[in-house]
Symmetry: C2
Subunit: 230 residues, 2 copies
DNA sequence: CGGTAAGGTGTACGACGTACACCCGTCAAG
DNA sequence: CTTGACGGGTGTACGTCGTACACCTTACCG
């Protein structure tokens, strides 16, 4: 990390800055990404970054672009729109899973960059190629919502209160939250803890995605029409 | 706002702190809510807040609790689970719409408070009362995901690039993003701008919600079973 | 009346993002 | 070979943030 005297540090390039920024966020979480920390990591003084990046906001924009770009290009759109859309979205998901901070950051972005728009366009293209009307595509993309990105804000993202299987606490819980407890224990009887969810994210994601795609396919088959405007 | 000499400031109460915090976030956005600013608003020194609130994080937790509580109690669960669930979620949405910062904050919370769990329990209760199996309820709640909260991370939350209807820019856009442009202009031909989405959030929300509830109802009718465990 | 505890104050520290003035190396033009 | 401009790294400094800690004030109870 430290450098010998006389040894020259190679010049910074924007790409290098972004690469290290992404790596840092991947490894230590987005909240660990400060301009100062990033500069340290690059062996450089904080202000040096501003020669490559307009501000921290712009840095985050560029980082998002970088991971969205990583999703890669879409295959040629064909008739089998349902399978194509599913595959494209699951690819996006697997990319985003490598950068857990990306979801949160995407959600805070206000402007959509060309790269991001290109990705969205590729999804729209798949649906249009399947013959869905533009109106149906429009509502469908809204409906899929954050799932187009390969993520969901899940209701119980993290574990429900106590990993502790204290029977008193359990009884208390069951009394206060009878329905949740019933639902939770139905699914997790294969794991040890009754409440501490061992639930399969990937399965849940695909379950919901398929629910939506099925619904869309049904509307499409039924020649869904936009409701009359008031 | 400033206080006369000799006039006594009434003592702070936690509720009052929270009330003002929520009002401040409502009015000036969550990023304007600093401990110092909040203290100012209350006519008090910043550190005074720490007698009522453990930390800023805990303050945010409590603020979320406050708005979730505002959703109000659930009606008695009955047979008509689909309508009940729909109504409950739309109520949640209308509450959350009054506090635009709440979505973002909820998403950053890691722990689920009792109040939040109570709300989730009420939704689960509705589905269970409709006769859905606990397993189906479980997956359904995951599927509805952020929509249980009455919000969505929408794909194009804000307007797509140029409100400017410059024909050159439009041609450029149409060339680069043909599908998006088609989709966008299909829906917004009733508004003036071709790309600057005038789209009905509430409609989009209900469209997606119904898609999901329909799908769930269909699975329920078909006596859906959890897939065999590996 | 005197003590205790709850609650407001003052000062201070170590982050943070970034403005601004600077300086140094490289390279093209004279 | 000199010069000067310019891209890019540096140093210092400012204002803001959350909050630790020691202090002081007030209200109330015995």
């Amino acid at each position: 990390m430290t450098r010998q005297v006389g040894e020259r540090r190679p010049r910074l390039h924007r790409d290098h800055v972004l690469e290290v920024a992404v790596a840092l966020a991947d490894e230590h979480g987005i909240e660990a990404l400060s301009m100062r920390r990033l500069a340290d990591e690059l062996g450089v003084v904080p202000m040096a970054l501003y020669k490559h990046v307009a501000s921290k906001e712009e840095l985050l924009d560029a980082m998002v672009d970088r991971v969205v770009d990583e999703i890669g290009p879409s295959g040629p759109p064909g008739r089998r729109w349902r399978a194509s859309a599913r595959a494209r979205i699951l690819t996006a998901r697997s990319t985003l899973l490598r950068h857990p901070w990306a979801r949160r950051v995407i959600e805070t972005r206000t402007a959509r960059s060309p790269i991001v728009l290109t990705y969205l366009d590729s999804v729209a293209a798949i649906l249009l190629a399947g013959g869905l009307t533009p109106e149906l595509v429009h509502h469908s993309m809204h409906a899929i919502g954050s799932r187009v990105w390969g993520f969901t804000q899940d209701v119980f993202e993290t574990d429900v209160p106590a990993p502790e299987p204290d029977p008193d606490v359990m009884a208390e819980l069951a009394a206060r939250l009878p329905s949740l407890v019933r639902v939770a224990s139905a699914v997790s009887h294969d794991t040890d803890s009754a409440v501490g969810y061992g639930c399969d994210d990937q399965y849940e994601f695909e379950f919901a995605l398929d629910l939506l795609l099925d619904g869309i396919a049904r509307l499409h088959r039924a020649h869904w029409q936009p409701p009359a405007r008031s």
